[in-house]
């Protein structure tokens, strides 16, 4: 099996788009529907290579999830995938250890290249 990646987004459409792009590139996909669900899944999944996370989600948003993850000592690479492009939000993600930011909509080949790079280590 390929490396495991979790996609955290409240939209099934987006989870399917990401899942299809990365599955075809050989990654094993796991899904979560919001930040809280994402934290639980990350904690309970062994050998996770990275996370792709939306920002605006009900319950716990992606930036709060990132902060909680960082505060727990996790070194899991996180790539934010969101409609947000505001520099202050990007700076906040950087501060809490995100490895990258994509503004939707995304090109599958760009996402695959970024995931391959971030999971290469």
């Amino acid at each position: 099996m390929g490396k495991k990646v979790i996609v955290i987004d409240d939209s099934q459409t987006v989870r399917q788009q990401v899942g299809r792009a990365l599955s075809e590139a050989g990654f094993e996909m796991i899904e979560a529907v919001d930040g809280k669900d994402g934290l639980i899944a990350i904690r309970n999944t062994a050998d996770l290579a990275m996370a792709i996370c939306d920002v605006n989600m009900p319950g716990m948003n992606g930036l709060d999830m990132l902060e909680a993850l960082s505060s727990s000592g996790s070194k899991l690479p996180v790539l934010m995938l969101t409609t947000e492009g505001q520099s202050e939000l990007i700076a906040r993600a950087k501060k809490w250890g995100a490895k990258g930011w994509i503004v939707k909509p995304f090109k599958p080949e760009m996402l695959v290249a970024a995931v391959k790079k971030l999971t290469a280590a």
Binding site: D10, S11, Q12, T13, V14, Q16, Q17, R20, A21, N56, M57, P58, T82, T83, E84, G85, Q86, S87, E88, I90, K94, A98, K99, G100, W101, I102, V103, K104, P105, F106, K107, P108, M110, A114, K117, L118
Partner: protein, 177 residues
Amino acid sequence: MEKHEICALLNETLQGAADGIFEHLGVAVEYGDEPETEVHDFACSIGFTSKTLRGNLTLTAREAFLAQTRPKEVRHGVASEFELCDWMGELGNQVLGRFKNRLLITGNAIVLGTPAVLSGFQIQRRRGRMPLYAERLAKTEVGSLAMHVTAEATGDFAIAGSGDRSSAMPEGELQLF
């Protein structure tokens, strides 16, 4: 700013957001002027707020329009009602995200809510009581999407001077840190 100036700004911003979305989706649309006469099957509503502007984006759409515009990667056979509701919410998310990113250039940063979606019969949106509004109706050969922004602004709402404007990271772009 005067009410008509803010409405003009909201209309221009909504048009720019819509153009960007349909270009990305590869859907050729024509724009009409009478959103309230259209009857739709799905609706999505997302709130937004800032110190000087707060309001709501509402989309309503025909089922055929949503089915036609779903990303091709997820189109397998006939879409279920759940899948169309999900796409309605994500479409609203992307329209409002582009709206926000374009408004940033004017120095106004809004905080976005999350979509609420419903499906039903003969859904028609009414303009309501907010003093500011922007409306667009996008039509294809199979159906239509109505987009409404309603808002209210404080007296401090303004377009920032060139030194105070900010730009958003462009749609489709990747930054690795």
